[in-house]
Amino acid sequence: MSMPDSVAALDSLMNDGRPDTLPALLEAARTSMIELLSQTQVPPAAVRVTVGPVTIEMDWPAGAPEAATAPGAPAAPASAPPAKAAAQPAEGPALDHVHAPTVGVFYRAPEPGAKPFVSEGDTVVPGQQVGVVEAMKLMIPVESDRHGTIDEFLQPNGALVEYGDPLCSLVPADGR
């Protein structure tokens, strides 16, 4: 009876039809954040929205591009880009990452000496394998979840990785 009741806890939050289910909370927080930023004339240095168990935080470091210092105001806070730009900053292509699906040893090729699954500069599609993580002799494929171009591998072959470690950066294809 002392078993962590995670199934029951999740059940009750996700499936009982009350408005404060997790997806609804996330949606509410995200909407609030976007609304707030679009309505704010002087851009903030930091915004944080918390709805129950969900917290979304964004901040813009001092000295960000196009900082317009108010006359007589102290150096910080600098102006932040508008909300939409925050999701896709102006300079350079946005980078996404492919993350380790579990703790284990990361390999770029299916076996020693074989050709890597992908190389830097290759384009990938959702579900395409870009590597493998070995945990206890199980080979867990590492797959891209989007269209894009492999930018750079961030972990060498044979690296010990933990769950969620970024394995390679990836330039997403437009509009995907």
Binding site: P4, A9, G52
Partner: protein
């Protein structure tokens, strides 16, 4: 002794095990999910490995991820805590294959005791008293109805793979039996991946009393007395205490003797618990064995002075027991309250959220086991246990007064957060509990006194049982 122990758990028990390791000079490694990145035990450990996302299935329940973490940290043993992989025989087997000591009973023992049918058969052979019921699982509804009629109502339908209060349905009459039987089977199949169930006579007015045992690899077994865990809601314990109040010494001694016999028959190794139901009139019945440290182990520690996690590590390291039965001399009374992030007013629904303010009790004869602090987030992914508050006193009356004082000091504030603190206080203060006239139906009666008064006479007020739940 071990050099490095990997703790394959989270929350208060992970921290409690980590403290024991530190006291023994053992290096502490822990696994954690992305939800627990800022957890107290991750800060506390010498090494921490992020093994998966919040969902336990891909982190704390993932055997490859945990074993990988053990290899990476050079752990020579794994402490599984309670819940998660702690009673998973496959996991214990994998550990053995990898040359890592699993801190718990051998895989085959865990397997035999984890299957309620083989366990009941084993204990019946060892002479333990069982409730009238089926030793084998029943699958045909028709056969089940016939057996239920033989046993007599109320009848409880239990998942073979269940335990810890989960996978249980109660039928009060032949009319409702088919529905309860069907629903419990469906639930068991969905949750445990094993739809087998068995039947047992249901005791309406019972006390839940369990015996703590320690056993080594050499066949030595001692018991550390009993715990009474009759304050439950939906078969989940809320308050535990030692000794069991109002029980005859002879009854407890017989129960303990049976537990030792059962442990020997099962070739048990490590810390384990034999759960019994006591019917209030001198008879008791074996229920199940828990092959792990229990949430409520502190009450036994406070009355016996034995550190059960130290002894688990000692036994797992291959030593013979270092305490004999004569060394176990219980003293006074200990009571534990579980402070859960739950709303007692809304059927104990978990209330996850951020803890903005936290005060835990302190001072004379109060022990607190917690993993939260100001700023901690109670995750929806896990058990809502926030803290265990345990007190000791020379006798039960003073222990309850002390618990009242300690609960008054508890303060947990946060948006949307509710805790069981006030409800626990009302249990402590209730006449039925404070005079030890309670049984496992107490919580239901306290929550719905009107319904209880209606549904039952004064002398047998325990008929109001909660209906079987899908979770």
């Amino acid at each position: 002794m071990f050099r490095t122990v990997l703790i394959a758990n989270r929350g208060e028990i992970a921290l409690r095990v980590a403290r024991a390791c530190r006291e023994l000079g053992i290096r502490v490694a822990v696994v954690y999910s992305t939800e627990d990145t800022d957890s107290e035990v991750v800060r506390y450990a010498d090494e921490a490995v992020r093994i998966g996302p919040g969902a336990a299935q891909a982190s704390y329940l993932s055997i490859p991820a945990v074993v990988e973490a053990a290899r990476r940290t050079g752990a020579d043993a794994i402490h599984p805590g309670y819940g998660f992989l702690s009673e998973n025989a496959d996991f214990a087997e994998v550990c053995a294959a990898e040359g890592i000591t699993f801190i718990g009973p051998p895989p085959d023992v865990m397997e035999a005791l984890g299957d309620k049918s083989t366990c009941r058969a084993l204990m019946a052979d060892a002479g333990l008293p069982l409730l009238p019921g089926t030793l084998e699982p029943v699958s045909s509804p028709r056969e089940a109805e016939a057996r239920a009629a033989e046993i007599g109502f109320p009848v409880v339908v239990k998942a073979v793979a269940g335990g810890g209060g989960r996978g249980i349905g109660v039928a009060y009459s032949a009319a409702e039996f088919p529905t309860v039987f069907r629903e419990t089977r469906r639930h068991a199949a969905a949750v445990f991946g094993d739809g087998r169930v068995y039947l047992e006579r249901y005791l309406e007015s019972a006390r839940h009393v369990e015996i703590q045992v320690l056993a080594d690899r050499f066949g030595n077994v001692v018991h550390l007395g009993e715990r009474d865990c009759s304050v439950q809601r939906r078969h989940q314990k809320l308050i535990e205490e030692a000794p069991a109040p109002g029980l005859d010494e002879d009854v407890v001694a017989a129960m303990a003797e049976h537990a030792v016999q059962g442990a020997k028959a099962a070739r048990y190794v490590g810390a384990g618990t034999f759960e019994f139901l006591y019917d209030g009139s001198g008879r008791f019945y074996f229920m199940e064995v828990n092959c792990r440290i229990q949430v409520e182990h502190p009450v036994t520690e406070l009355v016996t002075g034995v550190d059960l996690v130290h002894e688990q590590l000692w036994i797992a390291a291959g030593h013979p027991l270092r305490i004999g039965q004569q060394d176990v001399v219980p003293r006074g009374c200990a009571v534990e309250c579980r402070i859960n992030a739950e709303d007692a007013g809304r059927e104990f629904v978990p209330t996850p959220g951020l803890i903005d303010e936290l005060t835990m009790p302190s001072g004379p004869f109060v022990r607190v086991d917690t993993h939260v602090r100001q700023g901690s987030r109670i995750s929806v992914f896990y058990d809502p246990l926030l803290a265990k508050v345990t007190v000791w006193a020379p006798d039960r009356q003073r222990a309850l007064a002390r618990m009242g004082r300690a609960l008054d000091e508890v303060r947990v504030e946060g948006k949307g957060l509710r805790t069981t603190t006030d409800f626990l206080h009302s249990v402590i203060d209730s006449g039925e509990f404070s005079t030890a006239r309670h049984d496992t139906g107490l919580v239901g009666r306290l929550l719905e006194p009107a319904a209880a008064a209606e549904g039952a006479g004064v002398t047998a007020p325990s008929q109001v049982q909660e209906p079987p739940k899908a979770s």
